[in-house]
Symmetry: D2
Subunit: 148 residues, 4 copies
């Protein structure tokens, strides 16, 4: 069995060059086998990962009205290169916007982040959102929609 | 008017002998209403958040055999204070362990992280894992078990 | 007593038509007094801070040829809002650039960062650089020039 | 030629074991040549790097009274593995310490960090500190002492 598999890989290697699609299938097929859940459930897990990524990668970044647009775009684009992200919209809400002196920038906090991420995989689309909820005094990450 | 508002807040404060339990129910109840999915699906989303947190908060941290145990424990404990985490185990695999000179530490990368997180909420337990999968050449985050 | 304090704050607020310049002088003057070193020495300290910021804020960010330009710009702009930064140039060197499948992005590492930051304060300009030095197998941060 | 070089490396290998000191000199000697400043000035730069590291690596980490001691220690130890750090003391000041419900942890902010780092290299010791200065409403990093 082991030899058969090795042979198969060998034969596949001879048949190269790999097309892009073929490789994608290959890695995603292997990854997919690691999951003990449905595709729909996996899409929810992936949505959660992206929320954690946005928060914990970028909280702490120096931000002021002078760089807020670039930072929003950079966060969107860096999430977009991750697997299964259909779309991502990030808005950073700076409460104190007046540039009064050289110390008047802030470090990005979770409370300032307002984001919507759509994960799409194998026919399922999950919409997840994060924003500061005043009633909770907490920047909540939540699932706002699933469609399949 | 300003004074009136201050007085109102003052009076409200006097009226509030909140118990801990009451507040917990209150916030979690409110949060719960934001979700457009089942409890089981939410548990998967929460598991994803924790995976993204571990990766993106700590990748980059200076690590060597001298601080690896403390860092593992600190990551575990910081994930543990987040909602719905039943247990978390982190192991950091440093390939080159020889402390040869002052520059011989590394920055934590995703490839070095090996972790198992259990999320438990309202009767559902999700087990998520992250580790470097050589076949994929990728530190994969995946769902290894769901039970309810 | 509570109301009295509130009133005092209110009165103080009325007394303050702070100009921007005044505040700037004021904060920087106060900050400046905390330093037990020369202006030239402080400029070196500030240069070091910016290097640590670039490295530890952004290492871990998902990056591929699709978002590398935006990420470089966002890092530059976020460092630029910090005090005393005259200029900052960031280049991210991705070794494996072929987008073959959905997993083919990388997490930013220190080895990929190439940067030059100029700190300018009170007549002193410090130029600091960071890049991977093959001979050292280490992303070195160093001072390449001081002029005053 | 290739064989000659290989042989040379082989012979050098036989001559090992390298002592720690020997290797340290080697890499540190090479690194040292990249700097266009005095040792004293380099020590200030290194102190700044460590301040930026502490702030931007760890801001965002979930923290509550349940994990604050472990996090303080992990930050200290991870800074300690970096070059030229003689000592580092980190204290995290959580203002709201009451664990009332599952959402009652916070994300580490710069305002919560209180730290003293001593950099020691080639006869110079720089002491740098970071803490929230109320008068500035800013977590200031500053040089509190240099001795040589």
């Amino acid at each position: 069995m082991f030899i058969m598999n090795t042979l198969k890989i060998f034969v596949i290697s001879l048949n190269r060059p790999f097309t892009f699609t073929e490789q994608m299938t290959s890695r995603e097929e292997k990854a997919s086998k690691m999951f003990s859940c449905s595709e729909r459930e996996r899409a929810l897990f992936e949505a959660g990962i992206k929320m954690g990524t946005i928060y914990h990668q970028f909280v702490g970044t120096p931000v002021s009205p002078h760089n807020v647009a670039e930072l929003e775009q950079a966060i969107e684009r860096s999430v977009k290169v991750q697997p299964f992200v259909e779309s991502v919209k990030v808005r950073i809400v700076i409460r104190n916007t007046e540039k009064k002196d050289t110390y008047d920038y802030v470090s990005l906090t979770g409370e300032m982040i307002d984001t919507i991420v759509k994960i799409s995989m194998k026919g399922v689309t999950v919409t997840a959102e994060m924003r500061y909820i005043e009633e909770l005094d907490y920047p909540l990450m939540y699932v706002s929609d699933i469609s399949s």
